[in-house]
Amino acid sequence: MTTLRPSHSARRAEGSSGGPADAAEPALRVAIIGNPNTGKTTLFNALTGLRQRVGNFAGVTVERVEGTFRSPDGRRVAVLDLPGSYSLSAGAPDEKIALEVLLGRDPDRWRPDVIVVVADAAHLERNLFLASQVFELGIPVVLALNQFDRAEAEGYRIDVPEMIHQLGVFVVPTVANRGEGLEPLKRAIELAPGQTPPGRRFLLPPAVAEALEPLTAALVAAGLGPAPAAMEALRLLGVDQVESHLAGVPDLPATRGRTRAAVERAGFVPERLESDLRYTWIADVIGRAVTRTAPLGRDASHRIDGFVLHRYLGPLIFILLMALVFQSVFTWAQPLIEGIEIAIGATGEAAGRLLPEGDLRSLVVDGVFGGVGSVLVFLPQIAILFGFSGLLEQSGYMARAAFLMDRVMRKVGLHGKSFIPMLSGYACAVPGIMATRTIEDPKDRLATIMVVPLMSCSARLPVYTLLIGAFVPAITVWGGIGLQGLTMLAMYLLGTLAALAAAWVFKRTLLKGPVRPMILELPPYRWPSLRSLWVSIAQRCFLFLRRAGTVILALSVVLWALATYPRVAADPSLPEAAQQEQQLASSALGQIGHAIEPVVRPLGYDWKIGVSIAASFAAREVFVSTMGTIYGVGGSGDDVPALGARLREERDPRTGAPVYTPLVAVGLMVFYVFALMCISTTAVTVREAGGGRIGWQWAGFQFAYMLVLAYGAAWVVYHGGRALGFGGGT
């Protein structure tokens, strides 16, 4: 007989918050589940001390994440943060993750001893639907009424003892972002295993109960416990098709068909039966335990939305906000950038003085300080960009941006849910691609995966900033918004428009399918939590520094070696700078550069740009570090001047014309907008597009179409610009 129940042997967490002591088996295992955007991850972070990312919109968590805390009596408690879900269904991949864990069907994770359902206290009606399903799984439950303060501010009065009486579980009011209610919650979790699981809180009509028996029996025979089987049997009446996690149950579609027919004969609508029963029960619970004292008039969020979501004002506000953000990235970061440049330059010079003349000194000064240093100077801009991004996310504005974009998304044939992964792509394409797990339709999901890397990620920021800072004049255009900020905004918009256009093509060719409507929950506006904001900025800066200190450092060292060897005997009659240039041109890097120069020459690039582009196929920022290394090795002396200044001064040795002009810089930026130059993104595309041969094929296609797009667009910019009379460089 097929069995659905895997081994429930407890597995040690892959990682946790508590250091070496956590190596011990946990005494208690807890899963956190709830509707999207109820503060599950905030609560998880507050309990475990971890720093999972949080946001004020649905779909932030798409993966199960584990941490630990100590209960009041000192026992170790393992906590699993599950993706948000409105009900226990397995339509989307992230919902499947939650359902499989709760049913004990995830071979990589333990089945919990206690389930904490996190409910938004101000929206109990919707949140209790999932809770009522969880009650029936045969596991003790604790209900956390989160955002309790906001519910009270909105006039809700929740009678907690009455809720406990009605639900048969511990009910704990919490305000996770302020850490309120954590101790009572920990105590409730500690006591919950001794409690009887709540079970079904309403009675089925006798005819329905009878009709469900064969279906329940089939699920039990296949290995589900009696309680989860009963929950699944009722749920299966309403789903379109049997989900993959139940694929092993013999004859399930036929048994389900007979059950639905029997339910219909009893006078009920099978598709609506579960929701009718649960919402009737929920209305009764709320009628007894919740009162609302404040008028139901338009609150502050609604008033703000009157402007922010306005048909014409909304998009204008969105564009203005983005322009301000990008301008601030330049204006506010400049003094800090200059400070870091001076510090790196001084440290590089000091290191150069300490080391004797030779290859090691050149490696340290030109390779490490010239390469990594040229990337590190962009740290303030990363911090400012992610500070703004966190502010917009946590305030609830990003959900409004998704709402504004929904109309556009539908026009290109994408599901509205695709916008959240695309927004994530502004930070990094990898989590963006993983966030597509919230999309149920496989074709919509694949189309989104294929276009997410077109959104300008933070790795492109150093490239844009270097070129804009060096070649776009810092002049004010209007109301404090300057040309540099507008150019940056244009690059981000170009990537977004390209992603939408590519999605339009995919949805009409390879991935044809119907357009599905999106149900988007608009969270109320909230004051961002300074702690979460700080955590978000600090994490991004840490990741940037770690990347600079590992991958970029290693690549800089290798590129330095390629730019330095083989040594050639330079012509002593030439000036020192020309000798350095001769050595660079004869190096392995120079030879590679000259070999690929014919490919990049039609775009207006010399061999140094060509080789920097080639090196940056590993990671985009490497373009900047390679430039830093090349101009460090090719320069004379031990000083590490600002790279932008070096680029402006660079002249073609044959013609004496500037190598870099504003037109070349714009063409390069456009190339980086479109090109997929990130091994990590390719790896995650392979996996999320299905893995194996299919995954590699989609990833290969993604890489190829983006490269063709990048080359074509850069060619059009360069030749179009020259035809219009702009300077074209070498």
Partner: protein, 57 residues
């Protein structure tokens, strides 16, 4: 520092860098093949949590 020693130190540093990059490349390919929890691609995004990768949007 003698020229030879200088070259040896440089050779060790460059070799270590190459080894590091090769290992990252292998890790990325393995992450693409294995359907494991979390990102695992070595993109740097996985560092936001400690268990099985990131949960970012």
């Amino acid at each position: 520092m003698s020229v030879t020693l200088d070259r040896i130190v440089v050779g060790v540093i460059v070799g270590a860098a190459l080894l590091f990059l090769a290992r990252r490349m292998v890790a990325s390919i393995r992450a693409a093949r294995a359907a494991k929890a979390g990102c695992g691609t070595g993109c740097g995004c996985e560092g936001q949590g400690k268990a099985g990768g990131h949960s970012t949007r």
